[in-house]
Amino acid sequence: MHETMIAQSLLAAISEEAAKQNAKPINAKISCGVLNAINDEILCFAFEAIAKDTPCEGMKLQIEHKAMQGQCKKCNQSFDIEFSHPRCLKCGSEDFELLPDAPLLLEEIEFSTGHLTVGTD
């Protein structure tokens, strides 16, 4: 349910960039960690709803989920944590430290620059 608030922050960030570029955004890539607890369907739905009648209307979001990572205390290897059986993927040790969770990032925006539609309705 917190996806609505995230959608608002996302809309603000994309709108700001679109104004700078004076171009229409059509796609955006975002990435997030486990703690961000994002449900793709809900975020896309919320974004679609609030982007209506803005330059972001009709945009597609692509969401990449980054796994929680651990660092092995035996062999120092960093690895993605498999929740059902958390262990080092290199040496198999279950003795590891959790690494900080991936933040929620707006990674990339794709703009349509062929025909400027911003404000030309």
Binding site: H2, I6, L35, L104, I109
Partner: protein
């Protein structure tokens, strides 16, 4: 024509800025601040009520209560004599760092050692919003079932303490098949440093270990 532009911008940066300010504020004032997260009905308010009453002469506690509606919980806490600030999120499923920043300034901080934040009952969304707390306390109650740590691993992975509440329901006639050892095992696989205290806030069973941990943590803030 289409062009792609790399951005690399944090989305919840406004919340993070407030969280960082809260963290600094709490450090400057030497206050321990614990963010309690659980499903609705796990007994957070009852745990706080009992903890505050039992530790009255040892640790000075204040509470920030988060609920979607009503100030029932803050009222319950105030009956112990402890100060409590109620935040109503009006539908939002989590507290935000800006709300905590305002509430911290409404508490009589000079008279407190420890501030509990009772987050909105929800095992998922609150984990996405750092509040600037010293640590997270997750509460899991016996009727919810011992499979919750593997179903909702993120919050169990990051908490400092797990309180397994309502263990009185495990006693004979309680009809619960909650396996404390299973829950402990599943949590420890992910989180090696978490402290786990099985308690009953109703009967007081097990609370002493939780109180010892609190006393030790409050002391460590001053050292």
């Amino acid at each position: 024509m289409r062009t792609k532009k790399s951005i690399g911008k944090k989305i919840l940066s406004a919340n993070e800025e407030y969280a960082l300010k809260n963290k600094q504020f709490l450090a400057e004032h030497k206050k321990l601040c614990l963010n309690m997260i659980s499903s609705p009905g796990s007994g957070k308010t009852t745990i706080l009520h009992r903890t505050i009453s039992d530790l009255k002469d040892k640790i000075r506690i204040g509470v920030i209560e988060g609920d979607i509606q009503t100030d029932l919980d803050a009222e319950k806490i105030r009956k112990t004599g402890a100060p409590a600030i109620q935040i109503n999120t009006n539908g939002a499923c989590h507290l935000s760092a800006a709300q905590i920043s305002t509430a911290l300034k409404q508490l009589p901080l000079d008279d407190l050692d420890l501030i509990f934040i009772e987050n909105v009952g929800n095992l998922v969304c609150p984990s996405a919003f750092q509040l600037g707390e010293t640590g997270k306390i997750v509460v899991l109650s016996v009727p919810e079932g011992d499979d919750k740590p593997i179903k909702y691993p993120a919050i169990f992975a990051r908490a400092k303490v797990l309180l397994i509440n309502k263990i009185d329901m495990l006693q004979s006639g309680g009809q619960s098949d909650f396996d404390i050892e299973r829950a402990k095992h599943d949590v420890h696989k992910l989180n090696k440093t978490i402290e786990i205290f099985p308690i009953s806030a109703k009967t007081g069973d097990g609370m002493i270990d939780w109180y010892d941990w609190l006393a030790k943590s409050v002391r460590s803030i001053f050292s």
